[in-house]
Amino acid sequence: MRAVLSVVGRDAVGIIASVSQGCAECGVNILDISQTVLHDYFTMIMITDIDRINVPFTEFVDRMAALGREKGLEIHAMHEDIFNAMHRI
């Protein structure tokens, strides 16, 4: 199973590092990262593998949201099924 992490906020040093560390602590494996910085705004989409996640997925969602608040970013973790349902027939 996979999850999508979206990270949006003002650019700063170490955003990817802190998000990656948060993933690693929960046993979430990063499969793909795509990020841009536009007008000082940092946008990142991360596709992750959650098969070996070591906390309940809802707790991971909360931890990521808390990390976002701490760093002044908006971080949302969402199960990939919602994207597949909406965009794949």
């Binding site: 989409i45 919602i82 994207f83 909406m86």
Partner: protein
């Protein structure tokens, strides 16, 4: 791999355009709760609802978090109480209403529907008692919703019930006057009521339904309005295509949530209701969609045509996205619950006559309309009769939810999702003599399909 643009589109729909699951409604059969002791019946109903729907709110909260999609309301609908508790008298019915309200509080759901009766052809004893109890039941409870089906294409219109509902609406307004006649916001009169509708106030668990079932109502007027705005200067065929594509995506999300809720609660999946349900929040308005199609103001000439196209395109887009589509499935036009409709009614662009025409081509009816508090019961019955006739002849659901309160020009405020509405004027001439004739308007010729 999931496409980056698709991810951004979904995130934008949820964060910026207010896409959400409007309701996950669990239908619960109360056929096995009957009896002739009101206390026993009320206790059985309370126990059954609180045990069957025990995990509803918790499971929905988990789904909401895992998929990142807001689920605004969790609700329960039950077998019409006039049938499930048909042996009780008026006071007994009120005890049941209070038990439903306690169950709703215990479960943490915001509404429970099904305090109602099906009287399109005539009254059973239970139906008479229940209808008589509605004003008090709604005044004494907070979360109970009531609906009465008084007409159908197959049976015609029960004009005795129409006359009675005029009086019931007025009495409900009187008893809840101090709270802005809020009781009337929880009372719907139907023609061709759907038995699997997840939306309030009209939800009930139909007689042919399973023991328990999960029905889901999607929403997303803001997403459709934005898609039309982005489409730019294109012709109406292209606008219809844009609405279809958007409705498909919205419904797929509803289907996913319905399947997940059904699996996790171990309750069969019933239907997804494709309705575009507005809220008073800016950017979540069906009127705004119509205005983005190209109307200066909702209610002006062209409104009925634009709404007909919208309603049809929503169904065409949504029907392929779900394995079972049901309920009302179309565009809702509640006046008080839609910022664009409130604005249109306030500036006089939207009149009762135009609203009535609009109900002929969309999914509900004269919904959440504030009318003068001194309106007579006969006039209210006349409004109901007209609306029921539209439903009966066109083989579609129509409904009436009127709030008699204040005087023309006043603003009635209900708060929350129920919003606020300007009091609009009704025609001055009375239908009194017709209403007092009573009897039944026979079923139309199109009912004879066999």
């Amino acid at each position: 791999m999931i496409d980056r643009n698709d991810i951004f589109e979904t995130l934008n729909m949820i964060r910026e355009e207010r896409l959400d699951i409007r309701t996950v409604t669990m239908g619960i059969s109360l056929w096995d709760c009957g009896g002739d002791s009101a206390d026993r019946v009320a206790e059985r109903i309370y126990d059954k609802i609180t045990s069957r729907a025990r995990d509803l709110v918790k499971v929905c909260a988990t789904i909401e978090k895992e998929y990142g999609i807001p689920i605004i309301n969790k609700r329960v609908s039950v077998t019409p109480i006039a049938l499930a508790a048909g042996a009780l008298d008026r006071d007994g019915m009120i005890k049941v209403a209070k038990a439903l309200d306690r169950a709703a509080h215990e479960l943490g759901i915001n509404f429970i529907g099904g305090y109602g009766a099906l009287v399109q052809k005539g009254f059973s004893n239970g139906s008479r008692e229940l209808i008589a109890s509605i004003p008090e039941a709604l005044a004494d409870t907070e979360r109970v919703c009531s609906s009465v089906n008084v007409a159908s294409t197959k049976a015609g219109i029960n004009m005795d019930a129409v006359a009675e509902m005029g009086r019931v609406i007025l009495r409900t307004a009187e008893l809840t006057h101090k709270k802005g006649a809020i009781g009337c916001a929880k009372l719907v009169v139907f023609a061709n009521a759907p038995e699997d509708n997840p939306f309030m106030a009209g939800a009930f668990h139909g007689v042919g339904e399973a023991e328990t079932v999960i029905n889901v109502g999607v929403s997303g007027p803001g997403v459709v309005a934005s898609a039309i705005r982005r489409a730019g200067d294109v012709d109406l065929t292209e606008i219809a295509e844009t609405i279809k594509r958007t409705a498909f995506k919205i419904t797929r999300m509803g289907q996913l949530v319905a399947e997940e809720a059904s699996r996790r609660l171990n309750v069969p999946f019933g239907i997804v209701d494709l309705s575009l349900a507005p809220t008073p929040a800016v950017g979540d308005s069906v009127a705004e969609i119509l205005e983005n199609i190209g109307l200066e103001k909702c209610g002006g000439c062209g409104t009925t045509a634009a709404l007909a196209m919208l309603n049809d395109a929503v169904k065409k887009g949504g029907v392929m996205a779900s394995s079972h589509v049901g309920g009302l499935s179309g565009a809702f036009i509640p006046v008080s619950e839609d910022a664009g409709m409130i604005a249109a009614a306030s500036c006089g662009a939207l009149t009762l006559a135009k609203l009535e025409a609009m109900t002929a081509v969309c999914s509900v009816g004269l919904d959440m309309i504030a009318i003068p508090g001194d309106t007579t019961a006969e006039t209210i019955s006349g409004v109901i009769a007209d609306e029921m006739a539209i439903g009966m002849v066109n083989s579609k659901t129509t409904a009436v939810r009127l709030i008699p309160f204040g005087k023309p020009g006043d603003m009635v405020t209900f708060g929350g999702l129920l919003g606020e509405a300007p009091v609009i004027e009704l025609p001055r001439y009375s239908p009194s003599r017709m209403i007092h004739r009573g009897g039944r308007i026979p079923a139309p010729i199109q009912s004879l399909k066999n």
